[in-house]
């Protein structure tokens, strides 16, 4: 008996829209898959936007609760990741404005609790990594909020600059300018500390 060829569909992961549709039809496991797929990027965005882990946790939870509550309003043409980050971005900005905080990254805060690679770096590597980490976070903390917002959205959400313009309500040219300015700031901060040769 000849071998049956594998069905192409069996090796293809379901899209975000397919998973969300399954969830809307009652498949809670599909939601967990979606959550696992996006949790790292989303949390990374929120913790760097908020500069505070506890706040980032709250915003993360609230973002997904909004996804659950507004599941019926989602339309496939919106693109799930864009919708997800639009909700998260709005929640983050609203909360930061309410707290009158835009940049309170605590470089020395041990509770930041970023995961380290499992294979364990050497002491020198870890010191260098922590120094680099500190400079990155400090660069973000000293970056203007509107620049940081665009930079983090592009880095973490993967949506295009055009989509970021729609999400933030800013013209595309403004978004590109902010991104260029954010990159310039990041570059200068790292160069100033001699982190780049």
């Amino acid at each position: 008996m000849p071998d049956q060829p594998l069905s192409p569909a069996s090796n293809v992961e379901p899209t975000d829209d397919a998973l969300f549709e399954q969830y809307r039809n009652g498949d809670a496991a599909a939601f967990e898959t979606l959550l696992a797929r996006h949790q790292s990027a989303l949390f990374g965005f929120l913790i760097r936007m908020a500069g505070d882990r506890a706040l980032a946790e709250d915003l993360f939870q609230e973002t997904w609760l909004r996804v659950v509550r507004e599941a019926g309003r989602y339309r496939a043409e919106q693109k799930f990741s864009r919708w997800l980050f639009t909700i998260a971005n709005r929640l983050a900005i609203d909360e930061l404005r309410r707290r009158k905080r835009w940049r309170t990254v605590s470089v020395d805060d041990e509770d930041t609790a970023l995961e380290l690679p499992a294979n364990g770096p050497s002491a020198a590597d870890e010191t260098e990594r922590r120094q680099t980490l500190g400079r990155i976070e400090e660069a973000l903390a000293t970056m203007q909020p509107s620049l940081r917002q665009v930079f983090l959205l592009r880095e973490h959400s993967g949506v295009s600059f055009k989509e970021i313009a729609a999400m933030t309500g800013a013209p595309l040219g403004t978004v590109l300018w902010r991104m260029s300015a954010a990159l310039k700031h990041l570059r200068k901060e790292l160069e100033a500390d001699g982190m780049m040769e």
């Binding site: 969830y23 809307r24 809670a28 939601f31 995961e115 880095e155 160069e191 780049m196």
Partner: protein, 176 residues
Amino acid sequence: MNCEQANETLTLDLYGEAGEADVAALKAHLAGCPACRRVAEATRAALVEFRRQPSSQPSRDTIEAVIEAAHRRPIFAGFFAQLRPVLWQAATVMAVALIVSVAIRFWPQTPVQHTTRVSPAAAQLAAETSWDDDSAALADRIQLARADVTIGSSLDNRITGLRDALSDLRAGSTSF
């Protein structure tokens, strides 16, 4: 391409959003501009450093709270949530239809006013007629008015009736 344009194109190129022609122009500019070339190299290095940072993860409690909320959601809530806008539209249409039908039903009806064309002579006769007028003069006026009225019309009949009534008055009859 000048340096400012090169900087903007570089931003797009770093994220794969620059067009082929723009990328070619950028490369040509960088080949001839050491300052922009250093900026491009330093920017790429900064992004590499940024992306090397370990990823952050939410706590297990947070994840479990989210999953629990997702499981608590009613299975068919999504279906009804999608149906909600349709139901709202249908309810709005029905409400408008009900209001319109009630308005039509109870809208105050203005009485239809029938206009009757009256000749100038007949109109004058009607205005001047009174029981105190001299009966002969009244008869003359009736005759005049009759000339302006179409024979057989309702006004003609009325005038004929008046003439007959006048004759009866003369004869001492009061049957009208």
